[in-house]
Symmetry: C2
Subunit: 361 residues, 2 copies
């Protein structure tokens, strides 16, 4: 099999496992009536809209580590690896659901998100009730999926010691990701000061931990890799993750909405305290940006204007510099000859780094 | 030891376990800054405000079943029973948090709830931001606690087969409770028709299942009771639970807010479709109730007026009749000589039934 075939096969395997989780849940919702089934169906239609970045990284790294001569015997079957990978993708979707509730977003990946879909499907209820109904659906589905993820981890066909290590990691990951989300909202609502260090830490907690460190650590645990290998992967994952989120922030302001799929200038409208904004606050441009920043009725033209102002004051170059720094640190970690990483793992990480570097969406 | 001493001892044991879970989480929040610690502390101050109805029922029934000659050997240590009981109370609190977010309530048990407390603590942010900050805290804390509950179940010191049965039950309970909550909101938002049967089913799912059936089934599992015993307890628990929730609905409209601790007439203000309202809709009184029902700015005087109108049209007697019917069915189940229930279990249930019957808050 060629590498491309293997990748497509993996994508299909993960998708199939996620789909079967939702099919099972839809069947179990049936006794509770059409609305509950409808909620599960609407989520099932959305959960597979992404690139499966996290679960694919998990399985790819697991396979790469199995090549390692020094690895202990793998503690997981292939089915268990795909099962946990599917759970990691469902966790990502659960985070997105509550993130969208908190941010008041109704769009994701260029289409209505669950809130948008539920609201549009019941416009007969009137604007206020339809919105409440939709937001309620997103809150409850987030809860249900958080529960599903824990069930998948708690039942994984692994020895109990490995299962407990995975549960520890899941606990740490949720604690840290929610801390990051909480800090993000603290910044937007003005509950803490928007300095650069706080924003970078928030970025690491909110995105890097669950997007890169988590799947890499899980892969190491399931492959029976040494603790030092796991820690090396985690450190590289943090750098890649911060770069990834900084790119997201830059794309939201400078990118093509047709590519990134979110509502154009949503971050500016919501008053998100990103490194772009923290930098701009230090420049003379801020006095002309500030009046429109965080205006929930910001027009596309105003968004484009702020975008230009941010570029002119150097925020664009500044964030690009930070991204380059994080990627360079990741590259150093990947190439470090003293790190206990097998060649296949280094290749997997370098390919990921290259994809992040060239990313447009 | 007298029975009162045993009860006080049990209350203290559960409280102490819940408190130590929160203490541990507060310590683990410290690296993420003062705001995250503050969120955990604010929740810790609130979680123990209730009567511990659910965990106390669980432990009391567990102990009652252990007296049974025919019971298999108990599969759980005392510590494991208290651990799961504490998790059941934390699950209750997590449900309340998201319920309050969905209903827009800022008060519970006669005091500001978590939303109210977080909002009041940061009034310096201005009304809109303080409210957003507070609601975000409640959403995220609900997520964190849902995760904590699953961790406690997944790690319980039990044989793996019992742990899997408990996880199945937790899964079923969350699925059904969320279905009930979803139906409740569907009724309020007008997404489904408010007929009596729908409302009674919603009541059973939303409250009876997790408040009574769940702790009783858990008790049976942990005591190693026979499946028929577990099923008999579950059926009785459903009747008690529906009676309990119908009382809640009646107390919200006819009760003394000083006793029940919620915002006076909150159900009327939120347009909750209770059996009281479903009954009133069938009477000539509805045309004079309808204009004020669901008015978010309903005054206390208007609330008192609707309360009188509901009493006069017979909604009060009607719901009392339904409560009596459910309690009678529970009593029949408890007394059923063919049911495989030990005498101590029957006594525990009958004492619970008597407490529910005389309840004012």
């Amino acid at each position: 099999m060629t590498a491309t075939l293997v990748r497509e096969d993996l994508h299909a395997q993960i998708e199939s496992r996620v789909r079967s989780v939702f099919d099972d849940r839809i069947a179990r919702a049936a006794p509770y009536g059409d609305e509950y089934v409808g909620l599960w169906r609407a989520s099932a239609e959305q959960v597979l809209g992404g690139k499966l970045l996290r679960p694919r990284l998990l399985v790819a790294m697991h396979d790469a580590l199995l090549d390692q001569d020094t690895a202990d015997e793998a503690s997981a079957t292939r089915d268990a690896v795909v099962e946990i990978a599917a759970a990691v993708e469902i966790l990502h979707y659960a985070f997105l659901l509550h993130d969208d509730v908190i941010d008041g977003d109704a769009q994701r990946r260029g289409k209505p998100n669950l809130i948008g879909a539920l609201r549009d499907a019941r416009s007969d209820l009137g604007t206020t009730s339809a919105q409440h109904w939709a937001v309620t659906g997103a809150i409850l589905m987030g809860d249900l999926l958080l529960s599903v993820v824990h069930q998948m981890f708690a039942r994984a066909e692994l020895d109990h010691a490995t299962r407990l290590r995975l549960l520890d990691l899941l606990d740490h990951t949720i604690t840290e990701t929610v801390a990051g989300e909480h800090a993000d909202v603290a910044l937007s609502d003005g509950a803490i000061a928007p300095d650069l260090k706080t924003i970078l830490t928030m970025t690491a907690h909110k995105t890097a931990t669950y997007t890169f460190e988590f799947p890499l650590r899980v892969a190491a645990m399931l492959a029976g890799a040494a603790p030092l290998t796991e820690d090396a992967l985690a450190a590289i994952g943090q750098h890649l993750g911060v770069a990834f989120q900084l790119q997201d922030d830059a794309l939201s302001v400078f990118g093509d909405a047709g590519e990134h799929g979110k509502e154009p200038y949503a971050d500016l409208r919501e008053g998100k305290e990103t490194v772009l904004i923290a930098y701009a606050r230090l420049t003379s441009a801020w006095s002309s940006i500030e009046p429109r920043f965080g205006d929930s009725s910001l027009s596309a033209d105003d968004g484009a204007l702020i975008s230009d102002q941010l570029r002119q004051c150097g925020a664009d170059s500044f964030v690009q510099h930070l991204i380059d720094e994080q990627l360079a640190a990741a590259r150093t970690g990947i190439s470090d000859e003293t790190a206990p990483l097998p060649a296949a793992a280094r290749e997997t990480l370098m390919a990921l780094l290259d994809r992040i570097q060239g990313r447009l969406s």
